[in-house]
Assembly symmetry: C2
Homo-oligomer: 154 residues x 2
DNA sequence: CCTGTTATGCTGACGTGTCAACAACTATAT
DNA sequence: ATATAGTTGTTGACACGTCAGCATAACAGG
């Protein structure tokens, strides 16, 4: 018998349910998007880039908007540049910075994936919840994040 | 202007909050476990294997218990066998099957990681929620899963 | 100016997860 | 018994994400 407190049956139920739920949801979303040739990560880059307009967007800000660290961002942008979805150029005002632009192929991919994705999110996530559950989820999210990250992310 | 219904600000808030929340939570859990030299995936294998006792466990059942597909399971088990955490042998009663046993190193890893992991789950997940929120999460989970998977997973 | 600190981005190595294809066995139906 | 279908597990290729380390540039204080 262990000397620490194991999870009760009820606790296990919540935790396991969440583990399965979060994975299945993410997998479902990825599969839906994959049908249009983009990944969830692609989408998270393309959406803000398209909204940013002709001026492009600093890589730093893209990273912040998605909540990613620099490494993950650099890898993702490199892969997307290789596929011709975006372009990168040094920023004029800050020699450390990188300006990211969405290319025609990127816009096309977003147009192809966008409506289906939005619809999927509505159907499999938003519309499955009551308004009260939505509120709770937002609040729960902020509570957990506060506990995990006392200060802002890197 | 797009011809499909974009997400409203409220809808976006819920969806983005969830995306960030789920990723941060998973990342936090992985980091905590990594301190003991195991991954979340390792843990999901070791825990049922340890509970199964000397008889070991069919790979098929391990997969079902974790909700994984066969490919992911095979890769994970191969890696864990290479690290000496588990062993595999052909099942006697079914020539297709594989019997998985936890090895001493596996038990040791689980002993090292278990208490800290349990504590982490309590502190960063379970105790952050009210009993009502727990109930809601379980219910929400089952609703979403039902929508995603009309029949049982492969 | 010089020096230490912070910000920004890249890279290589590695573990993870998905997909499609395959192989081998078992179960079922005729 | 024999063909057909379902089950179980493996493999190789590839995308993804993390970590540690590196390089450069900007900033702030002496």
């Amino acid at each position: 018998m262990p000397e620490y407190r194991r999870l009760t049956r009820d606790e296990e139920e919540v935790w396991f349910a969440y583990i399965l739920f979060s994975r299945q949801l993410a997998a479902g979303m990825e599969r839906q998007l994959a049908g249009s040739g983009v990944s969830g990560a692609d989408y998270q880059m393309l959406a803000p880039l398209a909204a940013a307009g002709a001026g492009g967007m600093r890589a730093r800000d893209l990273g912040r908007s998605a909540g990613w660290d620099r490494s993950r961002l650099a890898h993702q942008l490199r892969r997307m540049e290789e596929r011709g979805l975006i372009s990168r150029e040094p920023a004029h005002d800050d020699a450390r910075g990188i300006l990211v632009h969405i290319k025609q192929a990127g816009r096309a991919a977003l147009r192809a994936a966008g409506p289906g994705h939005i619809e999927w999110v509505r159907e499999n996530f938003l519309e499955v919840m009551t308004p009260e559950e939505r509120r709770m989820l937002v609040e729960l999210s902020s509570r957990v994040m506060a506990k995990l990250e006392p200060d802002s992310p890197s």
